[in-house]
Symmetry: C2
Subunit: 346 residues, 2 copies
Amino acid sequence: MKRANYLPIEWLGDRVRILDQTKLPRQEVYLELSDAQSIASAIKELKVRGAPAIGVIGAYGVALGALGIETRAIAEFHKKLGDVIQTITATRPTARNLFRMLERMEQVADAGSSVDGIKKALVEEAIKIHTEEAEATRKLSEFGAELIKDGFTVLTHCNTGPLATTGYGTALGVIIHAFEQGKKIKVLATETRPLLQGARLTAWELKQAGIPFNLITDSMAGYFMKQGEINGVIVGADRIAGNGDTANKIGTYNLAVLAKEHRIPFYVAAPTTTIDLGLKTGAEIPIEQRSQHEVTHIQGVAIAPTGTSVQNPAFDVTPNKYITAIITEGGIIKPPYGEGIKSICK
Amino acid sequence: MKRANYLPIEWLGDRVRILDQTKLPRQEVYLELSDAQSIASAIKELKVRGAPAIGVIGAYGVALGALGIETRAIAEFHKKLGDVIQTITATRPTARNLFRMLERMEQVADAGSSVDGIKKALVEEAIKIHTEEAEATRKLSEFGAELIKDGFTVLTHCNTGPLATTGYGTALGVIIHAFEQGKKIKVLATETRPLLQGARLTAWELKQAGIPFNLITDSMAGYFMKQGEINGVIVGADRIAGNGDTANKIGTYNLAVLAKEHRIPFYVAAPTTTIDLGLKTGAEIPIEQRSQHEVTHIQGVAIAPTGTSVQNPAFDVTPNKYITAIITEGGIIKPPYGEGIKSICK
């Protein structure tokens, strides 16, 4: 599998270079971030987004935060590192990957005995996390591609390519790999309101990959399913509970219900770092509520009367019964998910 | 039932004054149209939209077209009037009301014996159509309000208020009437991509009516249904086949499937002029495919990479099995629809 020729996150030794996802597709702007606070802001403002990607950038944020702590007293260092981790933790609540990686970074810090040693170990751990996450998306893309047959038209939602993962992609990685295998694949990409990650980012990545696609509004999914034009739906995930219930970008649940009604397979693709074995069901997944402005304005232009009241949940939860299979780097998990997930995450 | 204090279409004796719906909610711009060609353009460009409203404006377009024909030779007049009707017919293919009203106008023209007499009769018929359509929406709003109970949160799609009907509204008319009855009603209004009639027009009309509402993206409907926050869905219609299958704004079918999955009643509200007894099922309803630009640009701003290929069906068809009831000025029709529709349209 080829790696994309753009790097959404790149470690430069004492800083991180990111491709600003809020500016795509109109501009390819790279930013260099050298402290934890700028990384926290980049996560909050969605300059870096996608569950696997924010796990990786969060880890780099901890490493950069650690490098910036000017003390040799280990107790003070730990206290300040705790503040750094807290700052990054407080950015976005739903994606599991961020918390998982912050836990890993914390464990590495706890295991160290000198400030310099811990700093070095944290940088190494962040790089390791980045490498592992990229590798996980390569593997899961290869497993998932088996499910995408020659001639398929696949519907996908939001953005789950290299941009969202820093590696090969989850749902979009699967599609890209199936295409690279020489299968004739077409994609229907939903625009994904409110922030239009499908129109802005997935369309951009599909063009980079040379895969034929049509962009549609989120509201058109049922129309094309009823026409018999969709052979499968594949989406990423922000958090998967122990029973397979999956939080993903708002609108995913609509698609899952529609897919079930039309007997179209509905696949979730995610690295195992997205799985939260601490949660029994999706009801326990915290759902981020974002600003009203994201709905009332599109790229700065008002689309609703001033003062319009809005609800803006950023994610929804798809119950496991709607999911045909969960594609991970450990293999493809089929129902019953509780068992399958445990055996792959052991 | 109170009439809205804005008039989307007003007959001024020798011209029509319309509220330009493409400029709302940012500007309330009224336009005066005095010939058939400007009316055809206003319909095509959605300055006037909504199935009942384009039926009414189409009739005025024929009347104005007739007034503009400068001949006293009846054969020549009929030929030129045929061109006028053809121009207006060719604007939009899906809504039944337009064709129904054009048929009525044609019949009136055919029945006349002098050019002056026909001109006078066409103006009178257009005014009669306007009055009857407004009255039909008042009646159906009153019938439908019975279905909206005190305390309900109702989800609606696209725009179906006075703007869309020139009268009291269809789905939104039902909601407004239930609210005026003193019931505590809340509305969830879907923004309705691509052209955002929900965000731009329904939000504006709900504010005018003083009804509490939240605006959501189309992709959020399933989320709120699963939360148990929606007691009913009510939408308008562009064309209803003899068996009750209903064409309406793209995204309606998504909502119907979601409503069924959550056992939430799904109502269609439309005057009987939207019903097309000539069509056995919804499969025969022509679906307008609109420009790619409507999806790739929002209020002039590009949201997708240049050259992105788009599909843009403006309507979808909801099979009758998803519809709990059809609300008309003749009463509420319940399944089986074939029979109920025939008895109300006789």
